[in-house]
């Protein structure tokens, strides 16, 4: 019996905190803009289940966009993009 790990979406991660990617949620079909498969793209940039990520910075004002470290790369995402990524925060 393993206890289900706590899950949050990446946009809720505090600055300086780390986590592990659990899964990526595809955008609902009616919101898929311009034929870009956002979930797939995020994975291509390295947001793949099992990868370690860390929240580096939040933009101003309103904490948007986010600077996120994944592997040794850093990407800037808007909050709604980060919200597609479910993670398990590391204590």
């Amino acid at each position: 019996m393993t206890q289900a790990p706590p899950q949050i979406t990446l946009d809720a991660l505090a600055v300086g905190q780390s986590g592990t990617v659990l899964h990526i949620t595809p955008l609902p079909a009616d919101q898929v803009g311009d034929g870009v498969d956002l979930a797939r793209r995020l994975m291509e940039l390295g947001f793949v289940p099992g990868e370690r990520i860390r929240m580096l910075k939040r933009g101003i004002p309103g904490g948007d966009p986010l600077a996120i470290k994944v592997g040794n790369a850093t990407f800037a995402l808007r909050r709604f993009e980060a919200a597609l990524i479910t993670i398990e925060p590391l204590a």
Partner: protein, 632 residues
Amino acid sequence: MGAVETRLDGAKKASSQPQIALLGNPNCGKTALFNRLTGSRQKVANYAGVTIERKEGHFTTPAGTPVRLLDLPGAYSLSATTPDEAITRDVVGGLRPGDPRPDAIICVVDATNLRLNLRLVLEVKRLGLPMLLSLNMTDVAKKRGLVIDAAKLSQELGMPVVETIAVQHDGEKALLAAIDAMLPLPPADPQPLSSIDSVSVEATQREVRRILAIVSNDSADSGNLTEKIDNVVLHPVMGPIILAVLMFLIFQAVFAWAATPMEMITAGVEHLGAVLTANMPDGHLKSLLVEGVIGGVGSVLVFLPQILILFFFILSLEDCGYLPRAAFLLDRLMGGVGLSGRAFIPLLSSFACAIPGVMAARTIQNPRDRLVTIMIAPLMTCSARLPVYALIIAAFIPERQVWGLLSLQGLVLFVLYFAGIISAMIVAWVMKRSMGVKSQHPLLLELPAYHWPHLRNLAVSLWERAKIFLTRVGTIILTLMIILWFLSTFPGPPDNAIHPPIYYSLAGILGRGLEVIFAPIGFNWQICIALVPGMAAREVAVGALGTVYALSQSGDALAASLEPLIAHSWSMATALSLLAWYVFAPQCLSTLSVVKRETGATRYALLMAGYMFALAYGASFITYRIALLLGA
């Protein structure tokens, strides 16, 4: 000259030469490696039908085999989200007519970021082309204590792996040797593009992790210098301050540093004009050469230093990794009017010239964001408007201090720049609203590790910019000046002429016709004549006014003596109206043609010309009428 000859020579033998493509993630140092391998033996053009830069060069391996090298646009994946990636995908898939499928691929990876870079390598490998892995930036990796076992990596990937340092002399040596070892190329068994998707992204990443565990001590996440810099540069308070100071310094430099070389160019042009004047018999040919060609072209050539200085800063900031940070800082602000932070880079370039700005907009993935960015790019005050502003401000705005330290002339110039930016934001907001787009758009912007800008690359890029500008001066602007000279010279004045000769010329007739339209905003027929060539290239307006006011000096002397003349013959209201006109200045034709090419639709170019004409006319009308009311 040598480079040109060898290139022609190379083209003849093209069929027998192996064609190798450089492929890799953005920011992996691919272009630096391309420059290192080919030096000046490269040809920069566009891929057919699009304005994505196509860089091809050639070199000879140590064993003496000539090789053609293609630098493909950077890509994260061959499933292609951006137009750049689509080009890369189509070339390696052999789907682009005119671009034969490469015989072999050199995959360039950033050794400090294999976790991201190797996925593309595994994808490309499925295509079955002969491949070579260039483990680049190994110097940075070593400094960070990163150990990568190249032999094991080669074994795991099933392809030769060599270490390269693209920014170091001889850093490409191992790669050249490996290319020789690869030649002659074994018969390939190319697979269709669809084979890329035969394995899922997750499975590919598992494979990357498996390989990394074997070949490297990569701990996946370590704080480093880039993060420390970002703590300051992306700081909520410090970040915007640093950005503002940087922008201020760049604009200062564009004006201050360029002064001396600009004076030298002007002096050179004047000297040439004087020599011709002294040594040629009077007549039409002399008039054409001195007033048309030297005067006209010289007045444009003088902006080369400013353009190069601006590009020097833009390219340096891009090279060291700062520009994406600026986009990060401004994303929220730009998001307010519906733009992406990515729009910052094309808009910044547009302060030099809208053409590279419009072209840089292709890094914006969302087609609507891209379109809006293209549409507002010409509202950024390009360097071609400067001579017009400078002339009118010097003639009409008194040189005095306001509030103790600011010069009034400088303040007016700042207001004009600012008016452009504000109106661009408003236009963007209106366009986004009218498109009725509510869904959010992704940013997905990589913030690459910082590194020192590389001087050799910078020099190569600046040289490319200079060549583009000089070609423009030598073709479009030269042609225009000659046409304008003809129009303003023929037909000659009647015997009992009471006006200057130009009044009776074709240009004069045209100007007087246009005056009907422009009189309500205070423009006289002389200004109307200057507007026409000014539409082809804005900076020509100054030269054209000079010709129109029947002056024969060129360069600064022309502007200097034109100044008191227009100060006498125009009212303050007319001058302010013309300044307002040039904030919006209906498009130069070359920008419009680039817009047409970039958007693939004539209607957007027409829409741009239309809305800018309407804004320019409206702004000038309001300015003129208010100025008249205030008694100016």
